[in-house]
C-alpha cells in the first residue's frame, strides 16, 4: 500500500510560477481524475512528480509513504514505484519496445528478469493493449502513430507494475477505439495489479471507461475543488466558468 502526498507544492519554470500550492493525496488502489482547463498546471504537476529537471520546486513537498522525493532523480522515483505515462512520449531510436522494456525492468530489480518470465508478461501485456506482437520489435515510439504511442505507454506501465501512476492526458489524440483500449487497459491494471492512478485529462471522454472515485479540479495552479464523480457531470454540463467564479468569490 503506497501513498503519494503532494503538500503545498509550488513550482516554477524559468520565468513563471505555475503551481501555487497544490495539495493532493493518491493511494494505491485508488483512481483519481484531475480535470482542468488548458494551462491550469496539470502537466506541470505530472512532470514535477516524476522529477523533470526543467521544473523547480520552490516550496512544498512530494512525499511517497512519508519520504520526501523532492531531491530524488527521476530514476529513483521510478524505482520507488512511480510511473508517468507521458502526454507526448519520446522516440527512442534504435531500441525496440521489447528491449527497452527488458532494460527498464532490469533497472528496477537486482537480478535480471528470466527470459520465460519476461516473455509471458509481455504476451499478457500485448493482449491487454490489443497490439500485434510485432509491435514489440519496432523501435519505441519511433514513427508510431498517436494511438500506438499511448498504447506503448500503458504497455510499459503494465510491464513495470508501478504502485502509483500518473497518466498525463493519455486520452488526447486518440480515436474512440484506441481510447477504449487504452482506458480499459488502465482499468484492468487497476483491478488486477491494484495500481493507484492519477488520471489527468481535460476531456471527459476517458471517464466513460474508467470510473474514478475521486475527482479534482485544477485552476490557475491550485486544486480548487475535490469530490466524486458528480463533479465530472457538472463540468460536462456547465464548463469551468462557474467553478472559477466560486473560487474568485471565496478569495
Amino acid at each position: 500500500m503506497a501513498e503519494l502526498e503532494i503538500r503545498n507544492l509550488h513550482v516554477r519554470t524559468e520565468d513563471r510560477e505555475i503551481l501555487r500550492g497544490v495539495d493532493l493525496t493518491v493511494r494505491s488502489g485508488e483512481l483519481h481524475a484531475l480535470l482542468g482547463p488548458n494551462g491550469s498546471g496539470k502537466s506541470t504537476l505530472a512532470n514535477t512528480i516524476m522529477g523533470h529537471p526543467s521544473y523547480e520546486v520552490t516550496d512544498g513537498q512530494i512525499l511517497l509513504d512519508g519520504d520526501e522525493l523532492n531531491e530524488l532523480e527521476p530514476h529513483e522515483r521510478a524505482r520507488r514505484g512511480l510511473f508517468l505515462a507521458f502526454q507526448y512520449p519520446v522516440a527512442v531510436p534504435g531500441v525496440s519496445v521489447a528491449n527497452f522494456l527488458r532494460m527498464a525492468i532490469n533497472a528496477q530489480r537486482e537480478e535480471p528478469i528470466k527470459v520465460p518470465e519476461f516473455r509471458s508478461a509481455l504476451e499478457h501485456a500485448v493482449k491487454l493493449l490489443d497490439v500485434d506482437r510485432k509491435f514489440t520489435s519496432r523501435h519505441l515510439n519511433d514513427g508510431f502513430s498517436g494511438g500506438e504511442k499511448k498504447r506503448a505507454e500503458i504497455l510499459q506501465m503494465a510491464m513495470l507494475r508501478p504502485q502509483l501512476a500518473v497518466l498525463d492526458e493519455t486520452d488526447s489524440g486518440l480515436d474512440v477505439d484506441a481510447l477504449r483500449t487504452v482506458a480499459e487497459g488502465v482499468a484492468r491494471l487497476h483491478r488486477e495489479q491494484g495500481i493507484g492512478a492519477l488520471i489527468i485529462t481535460h476531456y471527459q471522454r476517458i471517464l466513460d471507461y474508467i470510473k474514478p472515485e475521486f475527482v479534482h479540479v485544477m485552476i490557475d495552479g491550485r486544486v480548487v475543488l475535490d469530490g466524486g464523480p458528480e463533479i465530472v457531470e457538472r463540468i460536462e454540463r456547465d464548463g469551468y466558468d462557474p467553478i472559477r467564479e466560486e473560487v474568485a468569490a471565496r478569495a
Binding site: 530514476h75 521510478a78 527512442v92 527498464a104
Partner: protein, 450 residues
C-alpha cells in the same frame, strides 16, 4: 586608374595544406614492384610531411610527426590468433605485427578451390600475374610523403584472392597490430573478388597503450569483378597511444557487382583516411556506411568519395559520428558522377552527435555531377543529447548514464545492425560503451552547462 596586380604568392606556398581531391580513377601505371618502390622512394624524399585543410577552420597536419624516430620492427611467426578474433568465425586469418606478417591460416578446403590468402610479399613472387594485374591499379603513390613512404617501404602486407563463382560465408580476418611505440608500420592490403564471387572481409588496425609516436601508413585496395559481392568492414582502434594512421582505401565495383563497406573508426591519436568507392561498371551498386567516435584529444579526418564512373549505378552513403572530450572529427563526403554516368542514383548522409562542449564534429557534403539523368543528394543532422529523452528513460528507472548509453548506441545501431555479424557487432557496441563510460563526467558537465 588603380592598377590591378595579382597578390604575390606567399613564400612557402608549396607547404600549404592541400584540399581534398578525389582519386577519380587515378592509379599508378603498370610497372614492376621494384620500379614502383623506386618511384615512391623518390617522391618520399622530395615531399614534405602533409597537411590537409578542412573547410577553412582547421587542418590535419602531420608536421609534428617525427619520422626519424620511428622504426620498422621485425617479428618471428606466431601461431596464436589475436585476442580480438576470439570466438569469431574465419575462412582465413592473416596477422601483421609491426613490419612482419606473423600468422596466416586458410581453410584448406578453400585453398583447394583456388582461394589465395598470403602476405603481399609472397603474392608478388608466387602469384605474379594477379599481383601485377591489380597492384596499385587505383592507388597513386606520390600524392603525399606518407603515401609515398607506404608504397616505397611496405613489408608483409595482405593478399586475398577469391576465384570466380565461389561464395564464402565466413569472413576473412586481416589484422594489423602495432606492438610498441616509435613504430612505423607500412601496410598494404590487396583483395580481389573475381566474377560472381561473394566474400566477407574484415580488416582491423589495433594497438595497445604505448609510449611515443607511431605511424600506420596504409594502402587498401579491393577489386570486385563483374557480379561479385563483398561485405567489407575496416575497424580501427589504435588505443590511447600516439598512433597516427594515414591511409587510403579504394574499392572498385565492376558491372553488377555490389559492396557493403563499413569503416569503424574507434580510436587513434590522429586518423586521416581517404576512402573512395568507384562504381566502374553498369549495374554496380554499393552501401557505404561509416561509424566514428573520437574521444580525449583524438583527431579524425575522413574524406569519403562516392564515385560513379558509369551508369546505371546505385549508391547509398550513410555515416554517423560522435565526439567526446576535446576531440575533433571531420567528415567530408563527396559524390562525384562523371560525364556519361547516366542513371546513377546516390544519396549521402552524415549524422553527428556532440557529447562534450569542447569537442568538434563537422560535416561537409558536396556533389559534383557531370550527367543530367541522375539523382544525387545529401542530408544530415547535428545532434546533442536530448534531455527530454533522457528524462523519459529515467522515468522508467534507467540511470542517466544508462539513458545516455541507450541514446548513443541507438544512434549508431542502424548501421551496426547491418553488419550482420554478431562477433563484430558485439565488438563495436562494447567499444562504444567503454568510450561512453570514460566520458561520463564530461557528458554530465556538458548537460549541466546547457
Amino acid at each position: 586608374m588603380p592598377s590591378e596586380t595579382p597578390a604575390p604568392r606567399k613564400a612557402g606556398a608549396r607547404r600549404e595544406a592541400a584540399l581534398n581531391h578525389p582519386l577519380d580513377g587515378r592509379g599508378t601505371p603498370r610497372m614492376t614492384l621494384a620500379e614502383s618502390r623506386a618511384l615512391a622512394r623518390a617522391a618520399y624524399e622530395r615531399l614534405p610531411l602533409p597537411s590537409w585543410r578542412r573547410s577553412g577552420f582547421w587542418a590535419t597536419s602531420l608536421e609534428s610527426l617525427d619520422l626519424e624516430a620511428l622504426e620498422a620492427r621485425e617479428h618471428a611467426p606466431d601461431s596464436s590468433r589475436p585476442a580480438i578474433l576470439a570466438g569469431a568465425p574465419a575462412a582465413g586469418v592473416l596477422v601483421q605485427r609491426d613490419s612482419s606478417v606473423v600468422h596466416v591460416e586458410l581453410d584448406p578446403e578453400l585453398a583447394e578451390r583456388g582461394v589465395i590468402l598470403c602476405s603481399l610479399e609472397e603474392a608478388a613472387q608466387d602469384h605474379a600475374a594477379l599481383f601485377e594485374r591489380y597492384y596499385l591499379r587505383r592507388l597513386p603513390l606520390d600524392r603525399h610523403k606518407l603515401e609515398a613512404a607506404s608504397a616505397a617501404f611496405w613489408s608483409g602486407g595482405a593478399f586475398l584472392y577469391v576465384p570466380a563463382e565461389l561464395q564464402i560465408d565466413d569472413p576473412f580476418q586481416i589484422v594489423y597490430e602495432i606492438s610498441e611505440g616509435r613504430t612505423a608500420q607500412y601496410a598494404h592490403t590487396l583483395a580481389i573478388g573475381d566474377r560472381g564471387s561473394a566474400m566477407r572481409l574484415r580488416e582491423y588496425g589495433l594497438a595497445g597503450e604505448a609510449e611515443g609516436q607511431s605511424l600506420h601508413a596504409g594502402q587498401f585496395e579491393l577489386y570486385l569483378e563483374d557480379n561479385a559481392r563483398c561485405r567489407l568492414t575496416q575497424l580501427r582502434d589504435w588505443g590511447s597511444g600516439e598512433v597516427h594512421d594515414v591511409s587510403t582505401s579504394v574499392v572498385e565495383v565492376a558491372r553488377d557487382a555490389y559492396c557493403h563497406w563499413l569503416p569503424a573508426l574507434l580510436g587513434g591519436a590522429l586518423i586521416r583516411h581517404h576512402d573512395e568507392i568507384a562504381i566502374a561498371g553498369p549495374g554496380g551498386d554499393m552501401a557505404f556506411r561509416g561509424v566514428l567516435f573520437s574521444e580525449r584529444e583524438e583527431h579524425f579526418d575522413v574524406f569519403a568519395v562516392d564515385l560513379h564512373e558509369t551508369g546505371p549505378s546505385g549508391g547509398d552513403v550513410h555515416w554517423r559520428g560522435a565526439a567526446s572530450g576535446s576531440s575533433r572529427a571531420s567528415f567530408e563526403g563527396l559524390i562525384k558522377i562523371n560525364q556519361g554516368a547516366q542513371q546513377s542514383h546516390t544519396y549521402l548522409q552524415f549524422h553527428s552527435m556532440l557529447l562534450s562542449r569542447d569537442a568538434e564534429l563537422d560535416a561537409i557534403p558536396s556533389v559534383l555531377v557531370g550527367a543530367d539523368d541522375v539523382s544525387a543528394s545529401h542530408g544530415g543532422t547535428v545532434g546533442e543529447l536530448d534531455e527530454l529523452l533522457i528524462f523519459y528513460m529515467q522515468s522508467r528507472g534507467l540511470t542517466r548514464p544508462q539513458a545516455v548509453r541507450v541514446i548513443v548506441e541507438g544512434f549508431f545501431e542502424p548501421l551496426i545492425v547491418q553488419l550482420d555479424d554478431p562477433h563484430l557487432e558485439g565488438l563495436i557496441r562494447e567499444r562504444i560503451g567503454s568510450k561512453l563510460h570514460a566520458a561520463a563526467a564530461d557528458i554530465e558537465s556538458y548537460a549541466l552547462a546547457r
